[in-house]
């Protein structure tokens, strides 16, 4: 195999695995937008709060990684419900842009609370998947990325099952498509909204755990980074399309890795956003978004 082809393939593998992580982030944003038809910009801070809180039992009681993982998810769910309560529940209908402000406010509040509590120092995270890459043939594969791949496939499968094979999933899709009609048919829109927050917050916990594990620490800038990537993936895939978010995440992962390798890190965002721009020129609804009637 030629060097360029070998290098390109190695980056493709890494990009696909990391793209699964982006797909999870974008998926969380997409599910929330799909059901609520409003942006939740505090989703990144929900992820970060869970990642930080997961460390509490580790630092206090030297708890095992499983406890960290569960704590991360539990706290993310609690923060997610807080966001729903403070930023969405009492907003009147017809004020679709209001949550942009309330959730940006919540993002800043959570972010700065963590900065003040930790003096903005990143906190060391355990490395449950080891510190050394696995040699698979000629390629070096990171074990935490492999874990991300497996967990994201499990997550995506569970969400598809939930959406298409359960009563809650049907209610969720009904609320997403026609909330008034769903309400007339006896679906509690508020209950569906709250359960959607719970579902996406569980995803936030998983994302927070892997985001911190992959860099070896929980860091205060996680929220802004995850919010940026999540929004890009959501728009790239198609607003409200969960399969689109998966595709968008994978595409962004591969593009970024190949751009950094062949052009350098300063070209990563230029290339990724130029392609995003081009895709949206051709398909304004995103890769798998619905076309306007």
């Amino acid at each position: 195999m030629g060097t360029a082809l070998f290098d390109g393939t190695e980056q493709l593998i890494n990009g696909l695995m990391y793209g699964c992580f982006y797909a999870l982030v974008g998926g969380g944003f997409t599910l929330l937008f799909g059901v609520l038809r409003r942006f939740n910009l505090a989703y990144g801070s929900t992820i970060m709060a869970g990642a930080y809180a997961g460390l509490i039992p580790v630092y206090l009681f030297k708890a095992p990684v499983l406890v960290l993982f569960v704590t991360t998810i539990v706290v993310s769910v609690l923060v997610g419900l807080l966001v729903e309560f403070c930023c969405f529940r009492f907003l009147r209908k017809g004020h679709e842009l209001a949550p942009l402000m309330t959730t940006i406010g919540m993002l800043i509040v959570i972010d700065e609370t963590i900065v003040h509590l930790t003096d903005a120092v990143g906190l060391k995270y355990p490395a449950p998947f080891g510190d050394e890459s696995l040699a698979l043939g000629p390629f070096l594969i990171r074990p935490d990325y492999l874990a991300i791949l497996v967990v994201s496939i499990a997550c995506f499968s569970a969400i598809f099952w939930l959406m298409h094979r359960t009563r809650f999933g049907r209610a969720m899709r009904a609320v997403a498509e026609r909330p008034e009609a769903a309400q007339i048919l006896g679906v509690s829109v508020r209950r569906v909204n709250v359960l959607t927050f719970v579902l996406t917050s569980v995803m936030a916990g998983i994302i927070g755990f892997f985001a911190a594990v992959s860099v070896g620490s929980a860091r205060p800038e996680m929220a802004a980074w995850l919010t940026g990537k999540g929004l890009v993936v959501m728009v790239l895939g198609g607003l409200g399309s969960f399969p689109g978010a998966i595709l968008g995440g994978l595409a962004l992962g591969v593009l970024e890795f190949e751009a950094v390798w062949f052009l350098g890190s300063s070209y990563r965002d230029i290339l990724a956003f130029s392609i995003l721009f081009l895709i949206l020129m051709v398909r304004p609804g995103g890769l798998l978004g619905s076309r306007p009637a």
Binding site: D7, E10, Q11, N14, Y18, E112, V115, H116, D119, A120, V121, G122, L123, K124, A127, D131, E132, S133, L140, R142, A211, S214, V215, G216, S217, R219, P220, E221, W225, E256, F257, V260, W261, G264, S265, S266
Partner: protein, 413 residues
């Protein structure tokens, strides 16, 4: 229903706008107001909070010892800290506040070079030039390290590391003590002015000047990146003897972890000056073990240990290469304020700032926490109003910074 709320909000707003920021300042109230602008929030808050803590410690020490004498009267120092958040726009707003609302006689900070550059750009360019409407506010900077910043205005003085000299020493040291280490690879943060300047203005010229090392790979990433795989693969392929990791802790830790994952083992790793603090020890003491960083501070003398312990005890502030200068600067300025014969009134503020500036320009050599510090004169062609001070090399060993090399006179202390 809404009227009381609107009325209360309007009253609060009016009170905020009309509140005179200088109340409690100046001679009549018995205080001399000094300022500080550091990143107290956001990802660089670690540095800012540490400098704020060390400056507060110096203010406490001075006030507890009776304050300072101005116009024959004992007055206290009052420190007014503002958050520049490592954001240029916020920095520009904050500098105006310090100059016109807080009415401080001088300011410490800024923390980030990317803030210092535009802030210093708003200061007067030529002393006494009536046609220059730039701010007349004296800065005695402790953190912002980018080479050449003090040249931007005669109102800027700095007690910051001299990185070109420090890395020149490092390269010379490597050449003399480890002549077998010939290949070099480098990483830096392309969006962090200090990191990019350390590479372009300090390390690269030193490597070129000493003509011993061959640069085989240079990679860059962003300060707050989260993925380093592709760049580290390049470093793995370069497989150089010496690795200059010119990045700050938030990207040093994950990138060093990635080096470990990809089994990259350079024979020597040299870090950026800013690394020499506790942040890296908290985040990644294991993967960062062995990194050597040039520094101006380590608790290697009894005085340095005492200051570091006290700062931690009182303010949980880390004493490091960037925060200790804030402590040194406040102590130096206390003496200069007394010497400058200022009036310390609102009407004489501009004249007082000028008197203090002129005193600082004449200071020459003064005592720092670790050793002597010499302020370069205004007509210095290379780095006017910047300092020269002792340099040491520190290395991470068993989750602590250990002295790797120090000049003989410091070892004797």
């Amino acid at each position: 229903m809404r009227r009381p709320f609107v009325f209360a909000a309007a009253t609060l707003l009016a009170a905020c706008l009309l509140w005179p920021g200088w109340v409690g300042a100046f001679q009549s109230e018995g205080t001399v107001r000094i300022g500080g602008m550091w990143p107290l929030s956001g990802p660089a808050a670690f540095f800012g909070k540490a400098a704020y803590g060390l400056a507060s410690l110096a203010v406490d020490e001075i006030n507890e010892a009776g304050g300072l004498v101005v116009e024959g009267k004992r007055v206290k120092l009052a420190l007014h800290a503002q958050d520049e958040a490592c954001n240029a726009e916020q920095g520009l707003a904050v500098v105006k506040r310090l100059a016109t609302v807080d009415k401080v006689i001088f300011s410490l900070g800024p923390g980030c070079s990317s803030v210092a550059e535009p802030v210093f750009g708003t200061l007067q360019k030529k002393l006494g030039d009536a046609s220059d409407s730039g701010l007349q506010l004296l800065f005695f900077t402790d953190i912002a390290t980018k080479f050449g910043l003090a040249k931007l205005s005669p109102w800027v003085f700095r007690n910051t590391p001299d990185e070109p000299a420090m890395y020149d020493f490092v390269v010379k040291y490597l050449k003399e003590k480890h002549p077998d280490l010939k290949t070099v690879m480098v990483s830096y943060e392309s969006d962090f002015a200090h990191s990019a300047a350390t590479w372009n203005l300090a390390v690269k010229p030193a490597l070129e000047r000493h003509k011993h090392h061959q640069i085989v790979e240079v990679v860059d990433w962003r300060w707050l990146d989260n993925e380093y795989g592709a760049q580290v693969t390049r470093l793995r392929k370069a497989n150089a003897d010496v690795y200059f990791s010119l990045t700050h802790t938030p990207s040093t830790c994950p990138s060093m972890l990635e080096l470990k994952r990809q089994r990259v083992k350079p024979k020597m790793v040299i870090g950026i000056t800013s690394l020499a603090g506790t942040e890296v020890l908290q985040q990644c003491p294991d993967v960062a073990a062995g990194i050597i960083a040039p520094s101006n501070f380590a608790p290697i003398t009894p005085r340095a240990k005492q200051v570091a312990d006290k700062a931690w005890e009182r303010y949980k502030a880390d004493s490091n290469i960037h925060s200790v200068p804030a402590y040194e600067n406040v102590h130096l300025m206390k003496g200069l304020i007394e010497k400058a014969a200022i009036k310390n009134t609102e009407d004489t503020l501009l004249a007082d700032r000028r008197k203090l500036r002129d005193q600082l320009a004449k200071v020459g050599t003064f005592q720092g926490v670790v050793g002597k510090i010499t302020m370069r004169p205004e007509d210095d062609p290379v780095k006017p109003r910047d300092v020269d001070k002792d340099m040491i090399l520190v290395q991470i060993k068993a989750a602590k910074w250990d002295v790797f090399w120090a000049p003989e006179h410091l070892k004797r202390n």
